[in-house]
């Protein structure tokens, strides 16, 4: 049997996040929770791989408080086969370094696998670091920002990675981790039977001890990141637009490039 592991995160359902001015962290109370929107594409792709391969198990994993179980049940209702909740007081205040370490410990506990999938980033933290982090801890390749999968079978894949200026075609052999974009697929609607089965599913809770995680690498003490200040980044500056008739634009562009020593 093949195995795909999908990592998801429960996030507050709002773009209007309030920041606690003293701790520089988000205030989560009273905000409804959803699955991180990007992770919906990771779940969908995991299920599609299973549908393509047959005889494949899709395991969905999240680290979070006990309430994060709701997110796992939603993933099950969409077609994931089983869910695991990583929950322990010791995990609290983990940064991306500690979180990816904890998730990689879970992968080791789950056993063999073919592909790991995460969304491109979480809508609350926006770091995009956890996916590649997991891959580093496991010492496997990671391919980020996947917009299209040309081919995928156990041990091999050919994918398209989005870049600001186009895309790369990447081939990979062996196990690997991918982080996916919304261009990759269209998440399905849950089925009635899936929802009913998900309500009844048993979801094990794995603790730090069960994961045999190194206490020095988890939680606040295991997290090297310190938030110094939270601020809105200045918007990206737009490029220049060369306008006019054909010849004018070509000359304009040529002049711009040569003036800026880009030729």
């Amino acid at each position: 049997m093949n195995r795909v592991i999908v990592f998801i995160k429960q996030v507050p359902d709002t773009a209007e996040l309030k920041i606690d001015p003293t701790t520089n962290t988000m205030i989560r109370e009273g905000v409804p929770s959803i699955i991180n929107p990007f992770d919906m594409y990771a779940i969908e792709e995991g299920i599609r791989i299973k549908e393509k391969w047959g005889d494949t198990e899709v395991v969905v994993v999240t680290m979070g408080p006990p309430q994060a179980e709701t997110a796992l049940r939603e993933a099950l209702s969409l077609g994931c086969d089983r869910a695991i909740l990583l929950s322990d007081k010791k995990f609290a205040a983990s940064d991306t370094y500690a979180t990816s370490y904890i998730l990689s410990c879970a992968v080791k506990k789950i056993g063999d696998y073919d592909v790991l999938i995460t969304g491109k980033q979480a809508s609350d933290g926006d770091t995009a670091q956890v996916g590649p982090g997991i891959a580093s801890w496991l010492n496997i390749p990671s391919i980020t920002y996947i917009r299209k999968i040309d081919e995928i079978r156990a041990g091999y894949a050919k994918v398209e990675r989005m870049r600001n200026d186009g895309f790369d075609i990447i081939e990979v052999t062996g196990k690997f981790l991918m982080t996916v974009l919304k261009e990759l697929n269209e998440p399905r609607i849950p089925s009635f039977r899936g929802k009913m089965a998900a309500k009844k599913a048993e979801i094990p809770i794995w603790s730090a001890e069960y994961l045999e995680a190194d206490d020095g690498k988890i939680g606040f003490l295991g997290s090297p990141t310190r938030v110094v200040r939270a601020f809105s980044p200045p918007p990206k500056k737009g490029g220049i637009k060369v306008e006019g008739e054909d010849e004018e634009t070509v000359n304009g562009l040529y002049n711009f490039l040569s003036e800026n020593k880009m030729l």
Binding site: R188, I189, P190, M196
Partner: protein, 390 residues
């Protein structure tokens, strides 16, 4: 949805939630284009199938969820709230499947119901002909008995899902001299020899629904495809309508609900004479009346659907009441919703003109509201006759 809460079970709530998600996320973005271009929603059918919604009205033994008319109505209402035409790709399949569910034998059910349950195939119900509308017994399609099969000849018109169905419940007459007792229902597979899909109608409303002519030209239907027995067709038709009319009622209810919500929202946003128009009693009372009528219709429709599901006898009169009342309410509410939106409501930029066009057919098909009142009047006379005379 702004409406009186009902005490739905956990399962019913989940069904409604799925139907709502499909309607809001998948159907809403398509509805204007599908209406304009008269496109049949094939990809929505796939989604409805994958979400198990077609299983709702199919018994468990045949891959269904074994639920009833009530649950089918809940789903239809929720889809119709966004698009009463696309909803018919769902409800129309139930209409086509009911004859098999109610009168099919084990073999037929095993063969035909599982693909309807999964949504792999949708069903259609083919009764109406150019000369047989309200006078449904007057079908001219002939079924000639041969050795091991029947030869069907004739033309059906205005058949919902006609061009996209895989399974058709077709009504023909085996012996015109026997009149109504010659009427016989058959299951016809789409790829049967001599069966052709005819022209697609261009319609006022429910334009995303596919309404077709069906042509039977020496169409060879195996004897084993008779539903019930030879001559039982009329009974099959009547019993089917008793089950399906709460579905049309739910469609009407959903359309009305959608229009009412648009009107309520718009009346709070539109400012004239320096105030929102909801502050004018002439407008807000119109909307209050919409809410009253919709709630009354919903109470009737839900109760009739549950009555049908209870297996009670003599429910036809009540099914007719639900269909008539809900469709009349839908017509009134959608008309007034345009009034609340004024000129904007008359324009295609807002969905209420479409809802108004979609509502009209609910007063016509599965028996016009005149015919429904006829059914109700006969039902009442029969009930009176049942009271023992002192």
């Amino acid at each position: 949805m702004i409406s009186m809460p009902y005490n739905l079970t956990e399962e019913q709530k989940e069904l409604v939630a799925i139907a709502k998600q499909i309607a809001e996320e998948k159907i809403k973005p398509l509805r204007e284009q599908y209406d304009e271009e008269q496109l049949f929603p094939e990809e929505i059918v796939k989604i409805l199938g994958n979400s198990d919604l077609y299983r709702v009205f199919i018994p468990e033994e045949y891959d269904g969820l074994g639920m009833g008319v009530f649950e089918m109505a809940l789903v239809t209402e929720e889809l119709s709230r966004i698009d009463g035409g696309i909803a018919l790709a769902y409800a129309g399949s139930a209409l086509g499947a009911f004859p098999i569910i109610l009168f099919g034998n084990e073999q037929q059910k095993k063969k035909y119901l599982p693909p309807i349950a999964s949504g792999e195939k949708i069903a259609a119900f083919a009764l109406t002909e150019p000369e047989a509308g309200s006078d449904a017994a007057n079908v001219k399609t002939k079924a000639e008995k041969k050795d091991g099969y029947y030869l069907l000849n004739g033309t059906k018109q205005w058949i919902t899902n006609g061009g996209y169905a895989g399974i058709y419940s077709v009504f023909a007459n085996v012996d015109f001299e026997r009149g109504i007792r010659g009427m016989t229902a058959f299951i016809v597979d789409r790829d049967t020899e001599g069966f052709e899909i005819g022209k697609k109608e261009n319609k006022l409303g429910i334009r995303a629904s596919d309404t077709r002519e069906l042509i039977f030209n020496n169409c060879k239907v195996p004897t084993e495809n008779i539903i019930g027995r030879e001559g039982m067709g009329f009974r099959v038709g009547v019993a089917t309508f008793d089950q399906s009319r709460p579905g049309v009622a739910a469609q009407a209810l959903g359309i009305a609900q959608g229009a009412f919500e648009e009107a309520l929202k718009y009346a709070h946003e539109r400012v004239q004479f320096g105030k929102n128009i909801y502050s004018f009693q002439g407008v807000s009372f119109m909307i209050a009346d919409m809410a009253i009528k919709i709630e009354a219709a919903r109470a009737l429709v839900y109760n009739v659907a549950k009555l049908v599901d209870s297996g009670a006898k003599r429910t036809g009169g009540y099914s007719a009441m639900a269909k008539t009342f809900a469709s009349d309410v839908a017509m009134e509410v959608t008309t007034n919703a345009i009034q609340v939106l004024g000129g904007y409501g008359y324009m295609k930029d807002y969905p209420v003109e479409k809802m108004f066009r979609d509502a009209k057919v609910t007063q016509i098909y599965e028996g016009t509201n005149q015919i429904q009142r006829e059914v109700i009047a006969i039902h009442l006379a029969k009930e009176l006759a049942r009271i023992p005379k002192k």
